[in-house]
Point group: C2
DNA sequence: GGTTTTATGTCAATATTGCTGACATAATAT
DNA sequence: ATATTATGTCAGCAATATTGACATAAAACC
């Protein structure tokens, strides 16, 4: 046989490397979310609550539609989680001024506190990994991750100000 | 105020960059698994079935314990999925020779076919991203991902032969 | 001004994934 | 002979997600 693929593909595109890529994503994502899940479980919340809190914290005043667009789940799925968060005073919905159909989403103080607790752990994890790897590696990480995601998802990373 | 953090942290460790890191992981992982989930749904399987098929394909003859160690779930959770896959002839269990308590796991032809269908899509996705990003970026990606995961998970990436 | 579309919410039924706890069997190790 | 290990299974529970159907209020269109 004499390895036909090694002629066609550069060394970093061998089947073994691609499988390693698959596994890097699996283990990194799993470990990345594990701690947050544990914190949430104490509040009887799950990862879905975390995502909602995270993105509402990131984009205060966002609409429900925009959140649905980011999370890519159905409104019925979001509804339960969002209702809980509103009911338990982590999120408030303010009627839109320009468009009164909209329920603009904001974190409450309680919501901000939980967001900080959850995100700080993940931010610390990313920071440690970035620091160890160095700026050049971080740029490579960024490029590969953007390549892995769907083109539609990349628009969340356009940097208008940078 | 005059941005005290920008003095302490290099440019690539600003809060904005760390948040972007969190989001890169979220979107990349979500999009990475979406297509496979869709294929599985037709078979009335889910992502858990994919993971089992993937790792059994990767390590033929592995024990149930080893699989549990990799997936980091309970044996009860694995049991349902594994039983289904055995019942529907995707995986066979062979009694261990040295230790007859073990049920060594192997894919059947049917299992290998499904594994190929699922993995080829993900491999193609990784390959495209790697190609676009280039070898240096891939090495950076690798470093960051290893940094993000738990030390215990890193042992799955030791390269005894390379 | 009447019709259509949009933004949001809700009810009901279902599937998948995970958990804990309890118990069982067979085989290996001490 | 006893303890431990590898594996399996039953039962119950919780979280996340789905589809489908229906409802309301507000904006947009003609």
């Amino acid at each position: 046989m004499a390895e036909p693929k090694s002629i066609v593909n550069p060394l970093f595109l061998r089947d073994e490397d691609l499988r390693q890529g698959i596994e890097l994503l699996f283990f990194a994502y799993r470990d990345f979310t594990a701690r947050g899940d544990a914190i949430l479980a104490k509040q009887h919340f799950g990862r879905a609550h975390h995502r909602v809190i995270y993105f509402v914290g990131r984009h205060p005043g966002m609409t429900v539609s925009a959140l649905l667009g980011i999370l890519a789940i159905t409104k019925q799925s979001l509804s339960r989680v969002l209702s809980q968060l509103v009911r338990e005073d982590y999120i408030v919905q303010k009627t839109g001024v320009a468009d009164r159909r909209q329920r603009l989403l904001h974190l409450t103080d309680k919501g901000r506190a939980l967001e900080a607790e959850l995100t700080s752990e993940q931010r610390a994890r990313i920071m440690a990994a970035y620091k160890d790897a160095g700026a050049v590696s971080v740029e490579g990480f960024r490029k590969v991750m953007l390549g892995v995601m769907e083109p539609a998802s990349r628009k969340h990373f356009q940097t208008p100000d940078k």
